[in-house]
Assembly symmetry: C2
Homo-oligomer: 410 residues x 2
């Protein structure tokens, strides 16, 4: 046991192309602190709190004794430690899981807890830090954001979003090239992830910036989707040119809140969100019926969150820095907080790292603001492009072997 106690890190929620970069940042920060005697062992928990409760822990100092492996980890998509979707119950309803976690913390002398995840993971950070404080167990609990949805409040954006946005923007640009080759009228509908917030869908508009060729129409869940207005928009676009390309968020819904994709599926996931798929398919059928032209829908699907080969270099380096900042913050005595990123108020793009109380962040959703959406609710504004652009800048050069990226598998 270390004089200062040990540390543990976990990943939770849906993976991204950058969540391992944040893990690499936490490992870098913690191993540097270890060398200074500030932290003992750095444990990794497999599958988030699920693995913590099962005591499935690994010694990350040993795993990454060769630091070159960290750069492979940075470029590996998905959660190398595994993930979970376990949401802790309200402690007033069921304290047993908290008591069990406290027992495990004491057993392994864990004094630093780093949890990399999205909104639901920040809820875990919030509840754990409150429980430890109430039970007077000294531990620093710090959350590090990740989500391709970019829907966490307080922070300018979230690690993982930039890479997903770059994937969507580049893929949209490639699809636009592909769709432009024929002379017959055709409508292509591209469905992009984003249940409640349309951030990722806004990035589909990036190829159209500065006089470039972008999608004709972009629909976000922040505005009610009206089928008649949509038909009028498509008609007007078809009148301009034969190859119409439309970007839609999976979460677009009508004025009553009914999802466009609800016609096809309707499960409920572990957190009570409606499982969506098929808004693109529903609109494909509707447009085909209405206009009789060739219609195709493309669901960008999982590659949006795992296409590490096309990660944004800005995103990856910020993700590493956010992980390192979590360790610094914990060592400085902060707890119950999440790492935040603030855009410096200066001409060039620069991010300043800080923290905010996680209770101000958990269980809230940051939507695309009105000033980023055009008046017709079918596109984005220049202000939106200016916000997005630095987040997708820079290309990564992952190590390849035999034509495939080399990944780090724990």
């Amino acid at each position: 046991m270390s004089l200062y106690g040990n540390a543990i890190v976990g990943q939770s929620g849906g993976p991204t192309a950058a969540i391992n970069a944040t893990l690499a940042g936490v490992i870098k920060g913690a191993l540097a602190a270890q060398k200074k005697g500030q932290i003992g062992t750095l444990f990794g928990m497999r599958n988030g709190v699920e693995g913590l409760l099962a005591e499935r822990l690994i010694d990350l100092g040993k795993e990454f004794a060769d630091e070159r492996r960290l750069s492979i980890l940075e470029n590996t998509p998905s959660s190398a430690l595994g993930s979970c979707r376990k949401k802790l119950p309200p402690p007033e309803k069921d304290e047993s899981v908290y008591a069990e976690i406290l027992r495990i913390f004491k057993k392994y002398d864990i004094r630093y807890f780093f949890y990399i995840g999205g909104n639901d993971s920040m809820d875990t950070v919030d509840k754990l830090s409150a429980y430890f404080a109430k039970n007077q167990y000294e531990a620093k609990i710090v959350g590090v954001p990740k989500t391709i949805d970019n829907d966490l409040v307080v922070t300018d954006h979230t690690p993982g979003f930039g890479s997903a946005a770059k994937y969507v923007a580049v893929t949209m640009q490639e699809i636009l090239r592909d769709c432009a080759v024929y002379t017959i009228p055709a409508v292509t509908i591209v469905e992009i992830m984003g249940r409640d917030a349309g951030w990722l869908t806004t990035s589909a508009a990036l190829p159209g910036a500065d006089g470039g060729i972008g999608p004709d129409l972009v629909y976000l869940p922040e505005k009610n989707f009206d089928l008649h207005a949509f038909f009028a928009d498509v008609r007007a676009a078809l009148d301009r040119h034969p190859n119409v390309v439309v970007a839609i968020s999976e979460g677009i819904h009508d004025a009553n809140g009914k999802y466009v994709g609800e016609g096809l599926t309707g499960g409920v996931d572990a957190f009570g969100h409606t499982q969506l798929s098929g808004a693109g398919k529903v609109l494909e059928v509707a447009v085909k019926e209405r206009f009789g032209c060739k219609v195709r829908s493309i669901e960008l699907n999982l590659p949006q969150r795992c296409a590490a080969h096309l990660a944004s270099a800005a995103d990856l380096s910020e993700s590493v820095a956010a992980g390192e900042h979590a360790v610094s913050a914990a060592l400085a005595g902060e707890s119950g907080c999440m790492v935040t990123m603030t855009r410096a108020n200066e001409p060039a793009y620069r991010i300043v790292y800080g923290t905010a109380p996680v209770c101000e962040i958990a269980n809230q959703v940051k939507h695309v603001p009105d000033e980023y959406i055009n008046a017709e609710a079918n596109g984005v504004t220049d202000a939106c492009i200016a916000y997005l652009r630095p987040l997708i800048c820079g290309e990564v050069a992952p190590l390849y072997k035999d034509g495939l990226p080399v990944h780090c598998i724990l």
Copy 2:
């Protein structure tokens, strides 16, 4: 008018990530010949023979006076000249379109015709060269293959296939990482392009080579798909580990030839092929019903053929070389032929370019041979991996601006 006549080049059929590299090769070869006085103007026809008939021609020498633009063209996905799906009628049935083409050839003094395309485009090359020969109009008609389907006979593989295969292999590897994060049983079905030939689907197996982690199961249209055998395969895979990943070709079909995806759609495209989509969706529903576990299907869709950012460097350089070879062959007096690629019979991978009479190639399909498919018909053999691997090797470094690849738009 040149002493030697002018040349024209067109692109036809579905675009690929490498078809512009072949165009760049033709332009390089023709402009070099132009400098030597062997060729006059190099025209580009917009939208293949459709644009030729409408005399929508551009002077490619002027477009690419700055040769640096050729390297942008090489890295631009899709058909920069536009494409068409026009199939010429049998000349004995309707000679008028041939007479019109001959009139246009005479008008523009075209003596070299380069057509970059797939199977249906080679049919055009075949018919045109036969018609010109019959009518004693001296012109060299050379086809350059492109197709992500890799289904042309005689040639070892087709330009465009390697890049599509690399996209499928890298994306499959990233999806495998993503799917591995949770501990609950789940089946992910990845649907890959390939109507009649399963070549592209075989490339999904590449991440599993040499002890790597690959998809559990791979199904090709070369073998009849049996739902009961499939269920048994999935059951066995679920017994081994919770995260089962399956690669299927869009064209898998039962012993009666009925496509698995036929339950959902059934149009017919301009060439009489059944339009497919939804084999993945059909199996998603079937597996969910049978096993009650989480099931997801992912249709890789258009990015398979247009993801130029992830092109295979081997494929792009071969595609350029194939275009250059077409010009050399035409100048050497060859006609009615298609450029072929032969794998040199030596340990290291090397391609030798040649030509073959297009009548031996058009309207035939090269299937994945039995020795590339395992005995259970649910995976590929080491011989298949050995064939595929050199085709996806090497990474490209396209020019980026503001986070997006720079494309060449004519």
